[in-house]
Chain length 215, copies 2
């Protein structure tokens, strides 16, 4: 049975999944990159960007595992492209260059229809305008029995959490205080929504927390 | 120089320092005791209650250290006594029996004056009606150069955080989701208030996080 999973999703100690004032210069918000520092140091991240080296400890293991067994992705609109408005330009092909690191169909939640976009290495961006349930249905079909990974951003994760549709949520809790930005679970009662913490694993630059929806 | 420290303060993964619906039966709120389970298992806790045994790992080390070098305590009203109203009865001497585990002067924040209460083992409860600054001043004087520990509850910690008066905040983050209750830092921007995370230590039943106010 295909599961919907959020993996290696970075949040600050105070629960923010993105910093404030997101724009083209700050796609993760001001100080948002501090959330990702655990990932930037890993061999997994460097390999995704064609670089050698990188650390191979607990954090790297988490990052590598987060790409295993995934048959399709779902991304919120801002994860794929610039923050405001309809597609500024049909030539926009995401933040990742010609060969994005997904290597599967990727379903992008958006209000603006667009033709699918086939990239090098097996990634195909498909744009879903019918909402989160439709995107999950299409992604599950495309995944062919493997899992669906929801890559973010915060707003998309919140929508799927509210709907009780996420089976597993692996958070990389970073020891930083953002104080402002997009909060992952504010005003969501994760306990009432059926989630419980199953495991905590200390990494080098993040504490990995695994939440699961009780059956 | 005497510091104001919050030590071994338990919060849920989603930031709650107490559960909802606090009353005499549930002084920590519903499911609040789940926050304290890391502490209940330690040798430190058992020794405080005249019992032998208990675990002696990382969590225990944190709990023991939290009592070292402390010359005075500050407690919020609910930490000392039943939740509502003025002192229900002058015979109320706290939750801890004849010999509380403080062994120093303890300044209780309250709106209701009461004569000091001298207990066995060196604990003396003094009731401060002039607010958090007055309590800190009196506690600092009484501490004689040693540190002042703010024991809680959530409301008292929030007041001192908002005023930027806490030098060190050691949180024991428990892998539980309360979803409701008293949130420790909601609507407080800890970054803007000058706090940063200095250290994270994995314990057996809690992740210990150390926040410090930048000089």
């Amino acid at each position: 049975m295909s599961r919907l999973r959020v993996l290696s999703f970075a949040v600050s100690l105070d629960g923010y999944g993105a910093g404030p004032d997101q724009d083209l210069q700050h796609p993760l918000g001001v100080r948002g990159p501090e959330l990702m520092e655990w990932f930037f140091a890993t061999r997994a991240w460097r390999a995704m960007h064609g670089q050698e080296g990188g650390e191979t400890g607990v954090d790297n293991g988490m990052a590598e595992k987060a790409f295993e067994g995934i048959g399709a992705w779902i991304l919120g609109r801002n994860m794929f492209g610039p923050v405001r408005g309809p597609w500024p330009d049909e030539s926009w092909k995401g933040w990742w260059g010609d060969e994005p690191p997904y290597h599967t169909p990727v379903f992008v939640l958006t209000h603006h229809p667009r033709a699918p976009l086939r990239m090098k290495g097996g990634t195909e961006f498909r744009f879903v305008t019918e909402g989160i349930h439709a995107a999950l249905k299409q992604a599950t079909e495309a995944a062919g029995g493997r899992d669906v990974r929801l890559g973010g951003g915060v707003s998309a994760v919140r929508q799927y959490l509210s709907a009780g549709l996420i089976d597993e949520l692996h958070l990389a809790v970073r020891p930083v205080l953002l104080g402002a930005g997009e909060h992952l679970w504010r005003d969501l009662d994760l306990h009432a929504l059926g989630y419980a913490c199953e495991k905590v694993v200390a990494g080098e630059r993040a504490t990995h927390v695994f939440l699961r929806r009780k059956a």
